[in-house]
Every structure is written in C-alpha cells, then in structure tokens.
C-alpha cells in the first residue's frame, strides 16, 4: 500500500511539474492593466506558434517546447520579478516587451549568460553586439523606424523634403524621445523642419497638442505612441481633419486597437512595420488546424491575424529558428541559454526559409552577427482600411539610413561601454 501511495505521489509530482527536458521559451506577458489590449494578442501569438510546433513537428529538433507565462502588467518592477522567477524554468530567451524592463535586464541577462530579444523596442544601441553581448533587437529598431518613415515620405515627395514641416507626436518618455536625435539629424540633412509635440502619460487628453498641430499646419505627422495615447491621437487627428494618409505611426502605434475606436475617421492612417499583416499566409492554416481547432489556443482564438498577434507569432518563429540554429552549431537538441545566444548571433533569415515556414514575404531577410545584433533594419509601411477593418502592406521592406544610424549606435554604445567598464569585442 505504502509503495502504491509512493508511486502515485511521484507520478503526481511528475505530472504537475514542468518537464525539464523541454525547450523553454518564457513569455513575459501583460494581460492585465492599462496596456492589456496590446499585451494579450502578442502573448497569444507567441504561445500559439510553439503549441503548433509541438503538435505539428514534435517540437524543435525532436524536443518539445514549453511557454511558461509570467504577468508583468507592463510594470518594470514586476517584469524584473518575472525574469527572476522564470529563470528557474531554464528559459532560453526572454522577450520583456517593455523598454523599461529591458533596461533593467540588460546587465542581469549578461551576467546570467541568458539572451534577451527586444524586437522593435528597448535600447536601440543594443544593435552593437560587441557591447551588448546578450541583447538582440533584430530585425529593426526605433531609429530604423524614424529613418524608414522619412524614406517613405521622400518617396512620396519625389525625393525632396526641403521646406516640409514634419511634426513628431511622441509619448513623453524615454521611448517616445528615441527618434528625436535621428529625425533632427535627418532634418538637417534633408532640409525639413521638425516640430516636436510631446504628450504626457497616459495621453488621454491631447487637445492642446492637436490644436498646436492645427495651428502649425505640418505636412506630415509621425507618432511614437503607446496604449491609449494612440487611440486618442488618431481620434483627435480626425477631429481636426488632418489628412490620415499623412499621419504615420511607429509599429507600436499601428495595431487594430489604435484605429478601431475612431471608426471610419481612421481610414487611411499609416503605420510602420517590420513584419507582415493579415492572415493570408500558409502558417495560419496550421495554426487553425493544430491549435485553434484542437482547442489549444492561448486565448479565445479571435486575435489570429491581428497586427500584434502576428508580431508575437513572428517573435516566436525567430526564437524557434534561433534555437534550431543553436542545435545545429552545438550538435545537441537540448540546448542551454548560452548556446541559444550563439544561435541568435548566427541567425540568418532568408526568403526561402520564411517561405518554407509558411510565412512567405512575412518579414525582411536579415543576418545577425556578433557586430550586428539588430539585423538590417528594413522597414515597411502599412495602411488601415476602415471599411474592411484590415491593415495592408503598401510598401516593400525598405532599407533605412544605415550610415546615420550606425554612427548614432556607435556613439551611444561606446558611452554605455565606458559607463559600465565593458571591453567591447566578440565572445
């Protein structure tokens, strides 16, 4: 009897605790709090992709994956607590989904030999892998975004922005201020005037800012916003009848959440992106078959194909591909976080690979290296159709001002290295 009870207890413990042999991809999600509307679809996309890999392919390289989730509520302190608690799961790569949390985790992850992926956010100069050995921000960063928006406007204006006035409406925080230097430099180079319009957190009231825009009559508005600031800005722009096609948001201001509340008035609004939109990709058939129809979807299954769901799925796919690369490099299926870092540093995404994964033309091709943790910084532009309630990619993923951005990155990363006594170099 005692033996039976003991066996049952061991079996119960084995069933209750995570299988240690899994490849663990922790999800630092925020499904609650003021920014939950943005956090939920990303977390769903991230989890669903790994669920699909398990069901369809038997995991990665024959090893099943698991995605333990920790709720950060988009709060820096909670985010750090999440990292510390998830460390015990043997997480291979952390995606903190917050610039504030990223800044806190850069030294911690480096010391712990665990890689961190901050896709399209975080510390821009982390692109310099010789200084930020464990932080990766491929395929694009905030400065690519600023340059990508200007390049798009250059194309719209036959290559000439001289005498144009461009307003930057930004979240009055470290994140929102990121593009100012890039845009100032580009303004000096290309001859356009930059009008800075800060919006205080959370951005629920923006009357002053949009009256200023109405008075100053800029030709274009670029927005670096997040959360409620985006919805209010789109509504206020519509209220003053600012032409939506001249209003471009960064990728954190370009989801369905940001435009649906304004209804038809948001028609024509544009946003930058570094990945595809919609669900017209073969991978979604597999997501439907192996995840949604099997009742294994992370959420209600109603977010599939939305911008932020796709971003979560893209992040998961890049993590899975880096894990495969790491398995190839080290010749083992059960990789460690340190080996995962090597896989991320050797990651190469080609169109052939994307197509084979069921994601043709979903994202730009890029190659990561020790010197370049940020990829090639290619940026596309999407546009909102309020009638169809869909985003469409209206440009190809185009190059940004590499010389300017690399110069700024070298400057900023050198300052970080000096502050933290880091000797730059490859591992």
């Amino acid at each position: 009897m005692k033996y039976k009870l003991g066996t049952m207890a061991v079996a119960a413990m084995m069933a209750a605790s995570p299988v240690l042999a899994d490849l663990v991809f922790p999800s630092m999600s925020y499904r609650t709090g003021p920014y939950a509307a943005g956090g939920i679809p990303f977390a769903d996309g991230y989890a669903d992709y790994f669920t699909m890999l398990n069901a369809r392919d038997g995991g990665i390289g024959g090893v099943m994956t698991s995605v333990p989730e920790c709720e950060t509520a988009y709060n820096t302190e909670k985010g750090v607590e999440c990292y510390e608690s998830l460390k015990d799961t043997g997480g291979l790569v952390y995606q903190p989904l917050s610039t504030g949390i990223t800044y806190q985790l850069i030294p911690k992850t480096t010391a712990d030999d665990i890689p961190m992926h901050t896709m399209g956010y975080g510390r821009t100069s982390a692109k310099n892998g010789e200084v930020f050995t464990h932080t990766f921000n491929y395929p694009a960063n905030y400065w690519n975004g600023a340059s990508g928006a200007i390049n798009y406007l250059l194309k719209e204006n036959a290559g000439d922005l001289k005498g144009k006035k461009i307003a930057l409406v930004y979240h009055n925080s470290a994140y929102g201020k990121e593009p100012i230097r890039t845009l100032t430099e580009l303004g000096a180079k290309l001859g356009f005037e930059l009008l800075e319009v800060p919006v205080d957190h959370p951005g629920q009231e923006q009357k002053s800012q949009w009256l200023q825009i109405r008075r100053d009559k800029p030709d274009y508005v670029i927005m670096y916003g997040w959360g409620v600031m985006n919805q209010v800005a789109v509504q206020e722009a519509a209220n003053i009848r600012f032409p939506m096609e001249n209003f471009i948001g960064i990728w954190w201001s370009g989801s369905e959440n940001d435009v649906l509340a304004a209804g038809d008035a948001a028609n024509g609004y544009k946003a930058l992106t570094f990945h595809g939109v919609g669900k017209d990709f073969p991978v979604f058939a597999d997501i439907q078959k192996y995840v949604v129809d099997a009742g294994k979807a992370a959420g209600a299954g109603d977010q599939i194909g939305t911008v932020l769901y796709n971003r979560g799925l893209y992040a998961a796919m890049l993590a899975a591909e880096a894990a495969k690369t790491a398995q190839g490099i080290h010749g083992v299926a059960q990789i460690t976080p340190g080996q995962m870092r090597d896989g991320m540093e050797a990651l190469e995404m080609t169109e052939e690979k994307m197509a084979a994964l069921g994601l043709p033309n979903f994202g730009p091709s890029f190659k990561v290296s020790c010197q370049n943790h940020g990829g090639d910084g290619l940026v596309g532009v999407t546009q909102w159709d309020a009638t169809a309630k869909t985003w469409s990619l209206i440009s190809e993923f185009a190059a940004t001002d590499k010389d300017l951005i690399d110069g700024l990155i070298a400057e900023d990363s050198a300052a970080y290295a000096a502050e933290n006594n880091i000797e730059a170099g490859c591992k």
Binding site: P198, D200, Q204, E205, L211, Q212, R214, N257, A261, G263
Partner: protein
C-alpha cells in the same frame, strides 16, 4: 482678428470644454465625500467598470465568459444579440446600483466609525478588486463605444462645422470645438441641474443633505444612514457611467480609462471636496489654466507637455491660500 488673439480664444474655449470633462469625473468624488467623508479612490475604476459593463451589455457579451469556459470546458462568448443603447444604459445603472449595495453591505457597513484613513485604504482595495472583477467579467480587450439613440444618431465626434464656419465669417479664423465636448457640456449641465434639484426637492435628496451636514443629527430624526450611503454610491456610480461614456467615446473602453481619476484630483483640490458647483468651477479653471499655460508658455518655452504638472501646481497655489478649496466648507476644529 489678430491671429494670436484668435488662437488664444480657441485654446480658452477648448480649455473650458476639457474642464467640463474633468468636472464630470470630479463630481463622483464630491458626492461620496460630501455624504460620507470617504475619499473614493475607486471612482476612476468605477468609470471604467461602468463603461465596460455598458459595452458588454450592448454587444451581448457573456459576463465571466473566460471563467465559465475554463471551469466548464464550454466555448461561450456572446449571447448573439445587440442591446439598444438606452436599454443598455438602464441595465448598467442597475448594475451600478447593485455594486453600490454590495460596497455598502460588504465593506463600509463594517467600517462605520473608523478613521478616514482606514476608509480611504478600503477604497484603494476596492479599486483593485473592481479592476480585477471588470477584467474577469468583460475581458481586457479594447472595445469601441457607440452610444446611439437610433441608427446613425450616435454620440457625435469631430469638429463642429457650424461653429467653424460662423467664426470664420466673423473673425477670419474658424474656431475648433469638438462636437463630443459640446455634448459633454450639455450633459454635464443637465447632470448638475438634476443633482441639485434632487438634493433640493426630493425627500431622499433632503435626507442626503442632512446626512452630509451631520450624521448623528440625521440619524436621530430617523434617516437611514445605510440607505443614504447606498443612494450616494449609486449616484456616484451613475456619474461614473456618464464620465466613462464621454471619455470612452474618445479613446475606446480600455483599462487606462481608470486613470482619468488623475485628472479629477487637481479639480477637487481647487474646487473643494464638498461642493458640486466647486467641482464644475474647479474643472473649468483647471481646464482653461492648463491649456492656456501650455499654449502661451509650455509649448513655446518649456518644450511642451506641461499640462499634467501645471494642473497640480495651480491647485497647490489655491490650496496655499484656501486649504478647503474655492467652494469647500471651512474646517473649524475646537480643542
């Protein structure tokens, strides 16, 4: 008209409109504080909860769907009907009354006679609890809010074209005023008039004033404190619903809606915690003050985004000279 003068008038007018929206939130705080001496930290979350409930009822959403599905393994999310705005508002008012009863029955009834700081802490707990319940009940997704009297007759958004045209003809510059702000001003005026009439001309209103003046005296003449507090929390819930609709129409209904309470605090500091007219006048002064400061000094000389801190600075200035606020009752304590 001189261009700078025209801009200033436009900013002033928009400041007034913004002030009305701030006052709408502040009104809920005043009602509860006046009747029970409780500073209701949960007022912003009540606005969020009310707006989420309204949208949920309108869209035929199944409350607690995620919880139900997780426990019973079902897959229910919607009832499949759409409820008319008026009926949905009525049902939401019912939910807010139920909430008021529950708050009174399960929280404040047990805290009678406690220090104000204890009551305040209880409202902090209530705020976070209510936020969690709202999340469980209706989900965290952003929801568009459409309050419509009939097909095509919804809350208006966008610039008032008549005003723009008229002012352009008169002054050579068309002023911008948001239609939603105009509607909000009318609703706020009606709401204040209704509250004042209720307090002046109904038995329950007079009892409410009696409780606000002196709990003990009101109790001694047979006024039920329990009933009055439920009534006051219900009224605050109704005011929260109105504020939630007006703010939610601008940004969609989402969790950051609870942060509108931050906009009400300087209004309360300035107008006083116990005066309904004070909330209105305070809202207008804060709205106009912050907008004019941003236009004349903030944006041109300080890099902009001055409104949040300037509103509090303005309120502090008033506090220094009149601690009870413009319309608040002077506190006299004898030792």
């Amino acid at each position: 008209m001189n261009e700078q003068l025209a801009f200033t008038i436009e900013v002033f007018a928009n400041g007034l409109m913004a002030g009305v929206l701030y006052a709408l939130v502040a009104l809920g705080f005043v009602l509860i504080y006046k009747a029970s001496g409780i500073f209701n930290y949960a007022q912003g979350v009540m606005a969020l909860f009310a707006a989420m409930t309204l949208v949920g009822i309108q869209n035929g959403q199944v409350p607690f769907a995620h919880l139900i599905n997780a426990i019973f393994g079902t897959d229910v999310h919607k009832f499949g009907w759409h409820v008319h705005s008026f009926l949905a508002i009525l049902l939401t008012v019912g939910v807010m009354i139920l909430l008021a009863w529950a708050v009174q029955r399960f929280v404040f009834r047990h805290l009678v006679g406690q220090e104000p700081i204890i009551l305040f802490m209880a409202t902090i707990g209530l705020a976070y609890f209510l936020e969690g319940v709202a999340d469980l009940m209706w989900g965290s997704e952003l929801k568009a809010l459409d309050v419509c009297a009939a097909e095509g007759a919804c809350l208006p958004q966008g610039m008032n074209m008549w005003l723009e045209g008229t002012t352009y003809e008169a002054f050579g510059y068309g002023f911008f005023i948001d239609n939603l702000d105009i509607v909000a001003s009318i609703i706020a005026a009606l709401l204040v008039a209704g509250l004042v009439m209720f307090a002046q001309y109904t038995k329950q209103g007079r009892a409410m004033r009696a409780v606000a003046d002196d709990h003990q005296a009101a109790l001694s003449v047979g006024v039920s404190l329990n009933f009055i507090w439920i009534l006051v929390w219900s009224l605050a819930g109704f005011v929260a619903l109105v504020a939630g609709i007006m703010w939610g129409a601008k940004s969609g209904v989402q969790f950051s809606l609870s942060l509108i309470a931050l906009k009400a605090l300087p209004v309360l500091m300035l107008g006083g915690f116990t005066s309904i007219p004070g909330a209105i006048v305070g809202g207008l002064i804060i709205g106009v003050g912050e907008k004019l400061f941003e236009f004349l000094i903030g944006a041109p000389f300080l890099g902009g985004a001055t409104e949040n801190w300037f509103a509090y600075m303005l309120a502090l200035l008033f506090l220094v000279f009149r601690p009870q606020g413009l319309f608040g009752e002077k506190i006299i304590e004898r030792v």
